[in-house]
């Protein structure tokens, strides 16, 4: 009995096993696979956040000590000296934007790393093209059918639950395109048979469907049907409704906050999540982007607070999770005529996790002097995004190999992860 109780404590699977009898189909079928994945065991999870619109990396993490910056951006420059609203001085060269106050402690605790000067070798300044290339992971080939995260799923070397790869978006992002199963769901509560206002009829109908899919002669519909119902019971929508984040954790009431909250739920429910994807918008700051206040700062605060809330909410699960952010390119080194910045080249990204060799800004940036800029206007890409993505994915998710993860790329991965 004690064993049973311990088992029940270990997560949502318990509900499943007691309430519905038997192991879910995908676990049973995993028994024949290479390596058995136990959904009620903690999984390593990589959470990717795509900042669509091209975040101004020079403002989020500002090379304030470079004298060129103030000249290039007289109206956007911030220094760490001011008492209030100044940059967090990271290493006497770079400063973290004050709107990132909630993430700053993680940098100080060496759990968050920053990679600066990161981007794609393809110099397109089109949002669409740059996002497409970054998500496909092949900066010079549009026809790549799969996305890089889908290929990560294929390299995990074990079977998966239906919740292995989940994107909190309406449609499947390019990163998840491909042969390995991935879910796009903007609201987890939709993961149920819905008879509005009528749970009883819902149950009858649900049972009807389960029965029909159980006997269909189409093996794909049969197998996926079983998995769908298993997954649905496993997720237990009723628990979702009543989800309480950890003590004192308040998620921003924003799209990103909401997405990350749902990712936290999936992690805590231990339903087999390994790859999660969320989006953050509003980074295309051509006009009046502001400094300590304004459009950019507000957006950055949402971004930062959402991640910080997520991280605190994970509490006991922090060891299993790494968060990595990405954006398609950076913005011009100089400010433009309307108080904003235009499309540029390199930006910066953040990696947060207990396995991260944090507290550093990883970078090969020369300077912001004209002769060091690309086309004499943009921060050049000195770190290929694939060097970061491959390092984080391979190290955190313990990929057996990374062959085929980034076809046509022979670069050296960065080394910002422990172990």
């Amino acid at each position: 009995m004690i064993h049973r109780r311990a088992f029940m404590k270990s997560g949502a699977m318990a509900l499943f096993a007691t309430g519905f009898g038997g192991l879910p189909n995908f676990i049973a079928s995993a028994a024949s696979g290479q390596k058995i994945l136990q959904p009620y065991k903690k999984n390593k999870v990589m959470v990717c956040i795509f900042q669509r619109g091209a975040m101004d990396g020079l403002m989020a993490v500002s090379p304030f000590a470079d004298p060129n910056l103030k000249i290039l951006r007289p109206g956007l420059y911030m220094s760490p000296l001011e008492k209030e609203g100044g940059l967090f001085n990271l290493d006497d060269h770079f400063g973290l934007h004050p709107a990132m106050a909630s993430l700053q402690p993680f940098f100080a605790e060496k759990r968050m790393a920053i990679v600066h000067g990161v981007g794609s070798p393809n110099n397109t300044r089109s949002h669409f093209d740059a996002q497409d290339y970054m998500e496909a992971g092949t900066p010079f080939n549009k026809g790549t059918a799969s996305g890089w995260l889908n290929r990560v799923a294929g390299l995990m070397g074990h079977d998966a639950t239906p919740f292995r790869a989940v994107s909190l978006t309406n449609a499947l992002p390019r990163s998840f395109y491909g042969d390995n199963e991935a879910l796009a769901i903007s609201n987890l509560q939709d993961f149920a048979i819905q008879m509005r206002n009528n749970p009883m009829a819902g149950k009858t109908v649900s049972q009807s469907f389960e029965d029909l899919y159980d006997q269909t002669s189409s093996s794909l519909l049969n197998k996926t049907g079983k998995e769908s119902f298993d997954a649905m019971k496993m997720l237990n929508v009723n628990e979702l409704k009543n989800y309480q984040p950890a003590k004192d954790v308040v998620y921003p009431q924003t799209a990103l906050g909401n997405s990350l909250k749902q990712i936290a739920v999936l992690i805590k429910m231990q339903v087999g999540l390994e790859l999660a994807f969320a989006e953050s918008g509003g980074w295309d700051t051509h006009v009046n982007q502001g400094t300590t206040n304004g459009a950019f700062a507000r957006n950055l605060k949402d971004f930062s607070d959402s991640i910080a809330a997520f991280w605190k909410d994970l509490s006991a699960y922090q060891d299993e999770v790494t968060v990595m952010t990405m954006t398609e390119f950076g913005r011009t080194a100089h400010q433009n005529g309307t108080g904003g910045t235009d499309h540029g080249r390199a930006s910066c990204l953040f990696v947060l996790g207990n396995d991260v060799k944090g507290g550093q800004v990883y970078q090969n940036i020369k300077s912001l002097a004209k002769e060091d800029l690309e086309d004499r206007r943009d921060l050049p890409v000195s770190t290929d995004f694939r060097a970061v993505f491959s390092n984080v994915a391979q190290s955190h998710l313990k990929l057996q190999n990374s062959k085929g993860l980034f076809p046509d790329w022979n670069g050296k991965p960065l080394d910002l992860m422990r172990g």
């Binding site: 000249i71 497409d132 009883m200 009829a201 269909t216 649905m232 459009a295 950019f296 004499r376």
Partner: protein, 662 residues
């Protein structure tokens, strides 16, 4: 005797000449009797009609299987290939859409995308302090709206909505179903995407002008039409693929101009005190387009013609890209520098210098690479300008690999996810023999026994769009808000017109079916049949001549036959009936409704009626009530002519595995 009949009689008795007659007649517009070997595959006419409709239409409407069987499958297919049936219902529903006939030029100058709106706002000094979030502010939006109304401008989203709605309406109500199905197929083959801002304004005309007129015509015509269309030129960047390896660009005067431009650019670049940033930005943009872009060249071979294993090399990609340098979109923006320049230019002079203007396509001789190229073993001397690109496309369209790739893709769409090599080969042979006549290839397909064999029947899984449209068609549903269809398709994994990659949606069951999408398919069935989707109404009882089924079992039998003609549903009905009759479930529902009699919702009532109907006496009473809707609680079970038991049964059928198959 009409010629058609004569030909038929002739062919019946004609032995060896028969084959010849077929080829001739097909090529002349298809008056020969098509010979579909479904009997050989063991199907009767009605079964064959159901199969044909499931593949060559978006689903049979009520009675359509019988109608096709009665008129003859061959006759029906002739008509569908012809595609000239009057289209009153669809046209009536399309009548209010005012963007469907517009030109690219009008669209580009009138239906502004969000970045264009922002530029307009900047130009008119309407931009508020917080540029990013500020755009959501009502006062800003109102100012912008007024400005746009004054200037006769409209937001792009209006056109985008009509683009989406017209596809839904044509698929659901169009009479020329095969043309619709093929338009869907070929659009996906030559995919362009609303996700790319540079091409989104041209997608409506792309489907209308490059795809739709060519769906059963010559493959090369469609290939060329897509290659020259602004949507494709922008989507795969050929518009910005340029070379200065030509006589015009080497002209000393021009070189001087270029140098001046570069100097101006140098001077302004990185200058933070720059006043006129927009000019510098334009210069930067101008500079940025210098160079070869291989995107289109690669995809035209990998995805549109030869296929990924089609035997071309990276060298071929580069050479094709070089051959297509200068293929671009004619300047369309009224206030753009390109248009002003073009308006001032003498077109005859331009043409003499090798420029070509055709609709919205421009061949820029000054951006074309005049060097020699070697493509798939064939040498192009580089002296023929525009014609060189045409010759390259012609070459690609005639390759064996292309014939096979296209045939396999068609067979995959219309026969099964894994069509036999023999079938593909037969189709590919016909493709080569007829210079890529798509109609001929399709006929070869339906004249093959593989199309009709049991391993093809019900083997394809409907895409979400096919699922929704087949539900609409099989129930005669009324789409007052067609856009709802789009929302549901998105939830089920097919946000059509938005697929980002040039591959288009993968046409295979495993792409469409996963745990999340499958639950959504079931939920769609329920929501659709129970009238929960706003703007979509279904009258299920009308389908059954307003006759109330006597029991859940009767409803299952009746509606299975109506919604899934020619499918064997006995087993499903038996299993479901047993479950619906489960007394413990009925009791629970009773108990639940007894507890909350006040908030008995529509759904609860329908669950009650569903189970109570199993009681014959109750059923009879129910039937009487149906005529006289005064008694309670069953009065609640009827609304808009729908019985909730029936709705629920129909919902289960639409969400069932059998309905997902075609």
């Amino acid at each position: 005797m009409n010629p058609k009949k004569m030909l038929r009689i002739f062919t019946v008795g004609a032995g060896l000449t028969l084959l010849f007659a077929f080829t001739q007649a097909h090529q002349q517009g298809g008056n020969a009797k098509i010979k579909m070997p479904y009997k050989k595959a063991g199907l009767n006419t009605r079964q064959a009609a159901a199969h044909l409709l499931s593949r060559f239409s978006f689903g049979a409407r009520p009675g359509e299987v019988d109608a096709v069987a009665a008129m003859g499958l061959e006759e029906w297919l002739e008509q569908q290939l012809e595609g000239g049936l009057t289209d009153n219902e669809a046209n009536e529903r399309l009548k209010s859409m005012n963007t469907l006939l517009l030109s690219n030029e009008t669209i580009a100058n009138t239906y502004l995308t969000p970045p264009q709106v922002l530029r307009l706002a900047v130009k008119n000094k309407l931009v508020v302090r917080d540029s990013v979030k500020g755009q959501d502010k009502p006062e800003y939006r109102e100012q912008i709206r007024q400005l746009m109304v004054q200037q006769g401008l409209k937001p792009f989203v209006e056109l985008q909505t009509q683009l989406i709605n017209q596809k839904i309406i044509r698929a659901a109500y169009g009479t020329n179903q095969l043309h619709e199905v093929l338009t869907d197929f070929w659009f996906n083959h030559f995919n362009v995407s609303l996700t790319k801002p540079q091409c989104q304004q041209f997608i409506l005309t792309f489907e209308r002008d490059a795809i739709r007129p060519n769906v059963i015509g010559n493959f090369k015509d469609m290939l060329v039409a897509t290659a020259k269309h602004p949507a494709m030129l922008e989507y795969l960047d050929n518009s910005s693929s340029v070379s200065d390896n030509n006589a015009l660009a080497k002209n000393p005067r021009r070189i001087q101009q270029q140098q001046n431009l570069n100097k101006a650019l140098e001077a302004r670049m990185g200058d933070s005190s720059m006043k006129n940033n927009a000019i510098a930005q334009q210069l930067v943009n101008a500079k940025r387009v210098q160079g070869l872009n291989e995107n289109y060249a690669r995809e035209v071979m990998e995805l549109h013609t030869l296929g990924v294993d089609g035997g071309y090399t990276q060298k071929d990609v580069t050479e094709v890209a070089r051959a297509l340098t200068g293929w671009a979109v004619k300047p369309l923006l009224d206030d753009g520098p390109g248009k002003r320049l073009l308006d001032k230019t003498n077109i005859d002079q331009m043409q003499k210098r090798g420029f070509v203007l055709e609709n919205d396509f421009i061949f820029r001789a000054d951006k074309h690479d005049e060097g020699e190229k070697l493509i798939l073993g064939k040498t192009f001397d580089g002296k023929t300008g525009y014609q060189e690109g045409m010759d390259v496309l012609d070459l690609l369209s005639r390759q064996k690999a292309t014939a096979k790739f296209i045939s396999k893709k068609l067979a995959t769409r219309f026969v099964s996810d894994k069509p036999s090599d023999a079938l593909v080969q037969k189709m590919a042979d016909r493709f080569l023999k007829t210079d890529g006549n798509i109609k001929e290839v399709l006929l070869t397909m339906v004249e093959s026994v593989e199309f009709w064999q049991t391993d093809a029947l019900r083997e394809k899984i409907k895409s979400p769009f096919e699922l929704v449209i087949s539900a609409v068609r099989s129930t005669n549903a009324d789409l007052k808000q067609p856009f709802q269809v789009f929302n549901w398709c998105s939830r089920m994994g097919q946000r059509f017109y938005y697929y980002q990659a040039p591959t288009g949606f993968p046409d295979k069951a495993s792409f469409w079916i996963n745990t999340g999408s499958l639950l959504n398919r079931m939920n769609f069935g329920l929501a659709f049949a129970t009238g929960k989707i706003p703007g979509i109404s279904v009258n299920l009882l009308a389908l059954n001549q307003n006759h109330e089924p006597e029991s859940a079992e009767a409803a299952l039998t009746t509606y299975s036959q109506l919604l899934l003609p020619e499918r064997n549903q006995e087993e499903n009905i038996k299993r479901l009936t047993a479950m619906l009759a489960d007394q413990s479930v009925a009791d629970k529902i009773e108990a639940a409704s007894a507890k909350h009699p006040g908030d008995a919702t529509m759904d609860e009532t329908d669950a009650m009626s569903m189970n109570k109907n199993l009681n014959k006496k109750q059923q009879q009473k129910n039937d009487r009530n149906a005529m006289n809707r005064k008694d309670k609680p069953f009065t609640m079970a009827y609304q808009n002519g729908n019985n909730n038991m029936v709705s629920q049964v129909a919902g289960v059928i639409i969400g069932s595995p059998e309905f997902q198959r075609k």
